[in-house]
Amino acid sequence: MTDRLAGGAGSAAGVEVALPHPGAARAPARTRVLESERLLAAALLAPTVVLLGLFIAYPFVMGIWLALTDTSVGRPGRFVGLENFVRAWTDSIFQAAFRNTFVYTFWATVLKLSLGMWLALLLNRHFRGKRLVRASMLLPFIVPTVLSTFAWRWMFDPTFSVLNWTLYQLGLIGDRWWSLSPTKLPFLSDGTYALACAIVVNTWRGMPFFAITLLAGLQTINPDLHEAAALDGAGGWKRFWYVTWPLLKPVTLVVVVFSVIQTFADFQLIYVLTGGGPANSTHLLATYAYQVGVHSGLLGEGAAISLFMFPVLFAVVWLQLRYLRRLEGA
């Protein structure tokens, strides 16, 4: 760096020499390379591009190819066209998994958004111990999903469920007049209940993400706006609907997009909580792809099943990009 200064220090001041100007062509080759914006950009981006190309773009293309062949573990496949997709589409377990994925994503997102918004509004107020409460609220989000889902699975245990015990002690199950059910609840042993349980656990885990992100959005809203609305006679609900919500919409949309993608492609929660059971009734696309592609070793069919996620993910990402563009344009 200093040698370049010395190199041109004949008559001009050092300041002038160090600035990039046409005269820099006389500088040594090493300096020219270091000063070129394009070369530097290429060098800085190379590791990222190579990594993402090798482990995202290449597997994506290969996944499409695999899905068009009948490859299985240890046996190179031959081209079979769309056979895998057709076979999956007519398979009743696949159909259930496909339906479950939408039901799971829809309800989990609705619950996460409404509860997350509520929690954000609560946390946006001043109270003692606020920092501690806020920090502990994020715990479900940072603890590995697999490990916390095991705790839930244990809470939903058919024989030793603490939830059933609590409901029983409260008389909500049993033979009291206010009981809702005479027997304990079949949390994970009934398909419908099991999917509902998975939605509850997903909500429990994902809600803090909504709450904290929305809280960050809430904190950027000028309190004067609320005060003005209150002076004009707007109640709490009206203030939320006409002041908070419109200002919060952009950040809400982004959070929902992220959450929809994560939930739609979820694997670990179902894998641990139900394993797709009972009787394959709670599979999602990802868990069914795993069962077919890895457990049964039918790589081609498994790849085809996971590719069924692609159109929805693509649509969501496309909407998101369009929205970002519009924001930048505005």
């Binding site: 760096m1 950009a41 590791p47 940072i142 839930w152 059933n164 209150a230 996620m309 990009l321």
Partner: protein, 283 residues
């Protein structure tokens, strides 16, 4: 501002907040209670008359002891830690370079590349794990930590790049120009002036990336096979359940111990983590 009545504050604030706190933390409490409860108490019918499942009067460390002595759990902890640290470091370096280039340098296709990296950010691992398993096998990386160290950055790098790019854009250009006038090269100005200023952003990205790698499951499940190579989430799922039998005491002890490192890192850097989290969804 708006003055509230007392009962209103209770009904609309304290009680809902308390319910949120209990609902959020109960599973962790339950993990802890189960981990220290003796087996005889664990497996007692939920209708037993003297059953008091919310706490235990005979706490024991037997499950933790068994977990540490009779299983490869300590090994899994180390694997998870090692893989998370190395892949976070790789992702930070890539993210710093790429984020700087996208935020500061002019070159053809900059916009397209930025969009492409953002899109890969949204590609979930579950879409790619089957072909990726094949590629890992072809590269002879199967069942080694490198299978994960090289694939985790696929979801960490886009995130780090995105976050750090935003951070670099907030740093005034003048700082760099001053350094350049003093004779620093572009690269020198980037490394010595901009990166040190970006330390809070680097910490946020690093903490967030670390928790994400600690949490990762499907790649670790598919790419690793020997018990002593596994990470905590995969080890707990595949090795602590023997046959069809769940040893709940040990499982919950494992879940607790496997969560503590990441919870500790988080608790020391809550503010950075929150910045990373909220930054991760902002353009």
């Amino acid at each position: 501002m708006v003055i509230e009545q007392r009962w209103k504050r209770w009904v609309f604030f304290y009680i809902p907040l308390a319910l949120f706190v209990v609902g959020t933390l109960f599973p962790f409490y339950w993990m802890l209670v189960t981990a220290v409860r003796p087996d005889a108490e664990l497996y007692r019918s939920w209708r037993a008359p003297n059953n008091a499942p919310f706490w235990t009067l005979n706490p024991t460390l037997a499950h933790v002891r068994d977990l540490l002595a009779k299983t490869t759990f300590p090994r899994w902890l180390w694997n998870t830690f090692f893989i998370a640290v190395v892949s976070t470091a790789i992702s930070l370096v890539c993210g710093l370079f790429a984020g700087y280039a996208l935020a500061r340098l002019r070159f053809p296709m900059a916009g397209a590349l930025g969009t492409a990296i953002f899109v890969t950010y949204l590609v979930p691992p579950t879409l790619l794990f089957i072909p990726l398993a094949d590629i890992i096998r072809n590269f002879q990386l199967g069942n080694t930590p490198w299978a994960l160290i090289l694939t985790y950055p696929t979801f960490l790098v886009p995130f780090c790049t995105w976050l750090l790019m935003g951070y670099f854009k907030t740093i005034p250009r003048e700082l760099e120009e001053c350094a350049r006038i003093d004779g620093a090269t572009r690269f020198g100005a980037m490394v010595r002036i901009i990166f040190p200023i970006a330390v809070p952003g680097i910490l946020s990205a690093g903490i967030f990336a670390f928790t994400l790698s600690w949490n990762e499951f499907i790649y670790a499940l598919v790419f690793l096979s020997s018990p002593e190579r596994k990470t905590v989430p995969v080890g707990v799922v595949s090795e602590l359940i023997r046959g069809d039998i769940y040893f709940w005491g040990q499982l919950m002890a494992g879940a607790l111990l496997g969560s503590i490192p990441v919870a500790l890192v988080y608790s020391f850097f809550v503010e950075y983590y929150v910045t990373g989290l909220t930054g991760s969804v902002k353009g």
